[in-house]
């Protein structure tokens, strides 16, 4: 944890960073106990940078985003520790009214379900205009104009007509464009997109991704993309943070993580992507399921599913099942939370990185 933070800060100047999340922990206290949905997450996004949080459902990536926005219901949620530095302020200690000015004004968010994320009884223009009125203190007429312009910016045809329509009169792709228009209407410094294309048709997915990228490049807003889709990651971002069971398991640039995954979990994720070359074969899967949040394994959280986990033979040596590894820095901003990258296990690492052996075992 500390190692990746140190290396990241060494690599980039502090004022070059728009969002700096440090040791973030979000717990949910429910009837059966406490779920540690996010358990010690650190990452940074540079100004105009693009970072993806990747992981399976329930790994804590959405909760991380909602915690940054302070949209966690408390109770049952609790932001147990951490700092979220945004533009020189820790969002977690900001008074409520200042936090409201940040939400929508400086950090905007797009959600997964465009069908349910828009209010069914308000017109599209009302909903976009509301954000503009709140943050830029415009009058009704000006807000209306701004809404039309925002729709035009995201490529909605006939914006003057669309602005007066209700969400149910628009298609799914159109609604997601409306969400993006709403998010970008106040020129935020950071855009959080939580699975923005998951609920859309494949062709529309592509259009929406291109739109997000195009706008990101044009306006220079930073992008925090949350997704489980590695295809989306490859096309959209520069840096990747892989999460598993509320923790970061691997970080690096998009090329590094996708082409040379270091953590067994990332490796498993990548090998489970269907591709033309694998036609006719059984899809490779990561065996087992995400651990029960009430009965987390004591050691590495991925150990029960990990094909590379080993029992120790040497007294005093850490074991995958009993000891949880740190997020170990691998230099150049890369890090992996796996005992394989501990200097004591270089022999095992050599076996792991031999391409054929690893692939066979994984299968």
């Amino acid at each position: 944890m500390t190692s990746v933070l140190a290396s990241a800060q060494g690599g980039t100047r502090a004022d070059d960073v728009v969002l700096d999340v440090r040791d973030l922990r979000t717990y949910f206290h429910v009837m059966d106990g406490t779920v540690r949905a996010v358990d010690g997450v650190d990452f940074q996004i540079r100004r105009s940078g693009r970072l993806a949080l990747v992981g399976e459902s329930g790994c804590g990536k959405s909760v991380t985003a909602l915690t940054i926005m302070r949209l966690i219901d408390q109770p049952p949620g609790e932001i147990a520790s951490g700092e979220v530095w945004f533009d020189g302020r820790d969002l977690l200690t900001l008074p409520a009214d200042q936090m409201r000015a940040v939400r929508g004004g400086e950090i905007a968010m797009i959600f997964q379900e465009p069908m349910t994320s828009l209010n069914p009884v308000l017109t599209v223009g009302d909903q976009i205009g509301e954000a503009v009125k709140l943050h830029q203190h415009l009058r009704d007429r000006e807000a209306f104009e701004a809404a039309v312009q925002a729709l035009r910016d995201v490529g909605v045809p006939a914006p003057e007509r669309r602005v007066k329509q209700y969400p149910h009169e628009l298609s799914g792709g159109m609604r997601q464009r409306v969400m993006i228009a709403m998010a970008l209407s106040c020129r935020p410094k950071l855009l959080i997109a939580d699975e923005p294309t998951t609920a859309l048709d494949v062709t529309i997915q592509r259009q929406i991704l291109e739109l997000i990228k195009e706008i990101q490049e044009r306006t220079g807003t930073a992008l925090l993309l949350i997704t489980h889709d590695l295809g989306v990651v490859a096309e959209t971002v520069d840096e990747v943070v892989v999460m598993y069971a509320g923790r970061i398991v691997e970080t690096g640039t998009v090329e590094e993580v996708l082409l040379e995954p270091r953590h067994p979990y990332t490796r498993g994720l990548l090998s489970s992507i269907p591709s033309r070359g694998k036609r006719g074969q059984r899809l490779s899967v990561i065996k087992g399921v995400v651990p029960n949040p009430f009965r987390m394994p004591p050691g590495c959280k991925f150990e029960p599913r990990c094909p590379y986990a080993w029992e120790t033979s040497v007294q005093g040596e850490p074991t995958c099942a009993q000891n949880e590894p740190e997020l170990l820095s691998l230099g150049d901003g890369r890090a992996s939370r796996c005992w394989l990258h501990d200097p004591r296990f270089t022999g095992r690492l050599r076996d792991y990185e031999r391409p054929t052996a690893g692939a066979e075992e994984a299968r």
Partner: protein, 365 residues
Amino acid sequence: MIRYIVRRLLEAIPVVILTSVLIYGILLIAPGGPTARFAQNPRITGEQIAAFKHRWGLDQPIPIQYCRWAGICNPDGEGLGIFISNKGLPNILPEALGGGDNGMLHGDFGFSIVDGRPVTSVISERVVPTLILAGTAWLLWVVIAFLTGVYAAVRRYGLFDSALTVFNYVGFSLPTFWLGIMLIAVFASQLRIFPASGMWDTRTVPAFGTDRYWTLLGEDPGYVLTDLLRHLVLPVITLIVVSIAGDSRFVRSSMLDALNQDYVRTARAKGVPEWRVVTKHALRNALLPVVTNLGLEIPFLFTGAIATETIFSWPGMGRAFIQATNNYDYPVLMGILVITAIIVISANLLADILYAVVDPRISYG
């Protein structure tokens, strides 16, 4: 929109007709009948009963009885002539166009068997007291159920929410008649804060609806209205406790549902202040099912009024209904049932139209 309303109005017509047939049919099947009150009277002979039946048209075939009551048939006609009015035109037409002057279609609900007065005047003098009682109750009921429900949802699991939950469970299980009697026992008999029955103080105020009543209302409105309000308190409470208990629960869950929707999260993510998230984004959506429900519950005011008006001797339609039933006064009974049915159907219609107004997803097609 206008077309939608007109269409719904036209659709309501067959419903009203069907309801009137039903009312007629059910009263026909029910034991008793207009002559039942003579059965125990030894001084009334069979001939006299037959004469009574003939005078009231009860010796006619049932469809003709219904048609006369409805105003399709002319009671003076013979054979096929029953469909022709005395002016020689179809009897069903409005009177001004040469139709008949009998039956509900022409505003004639017949005469009370008991005192011979027209049913319309019996009902009309009872409608206003019922509307005063039911209207006040409905207004309070909606406002209280709404405010408490929304507040409980926003402060979920708070002290108020828990207290309301207890009230709701208790209130919902109270029988109306029992609650009314208990209120009289405590607040009228023991504490003597509110009057136990009636609509006005008989010692100081003339009967409601008379000229002297209106004169006094003009001279001393403060006194007359205070007197009316004092008489309203207990029956209104009796009428609405059960309804509030049910509906504030309903509003609460509808509001909770809305507050958990994705678009509420979107609104918060936009930086909308919390009170506006509640009043603008959640409330309008929470209103949709509530509006329908409030319309559908209007009938309850009238059925509830039957018990409440009887307990509190409120001179309204509910009490008139009970009196008519006890006296075998069939014309009044049927008149009240038809008027109530029309009010209920109109209330449903209103709820439908309101629903279309508040929800843009409803098409008027």
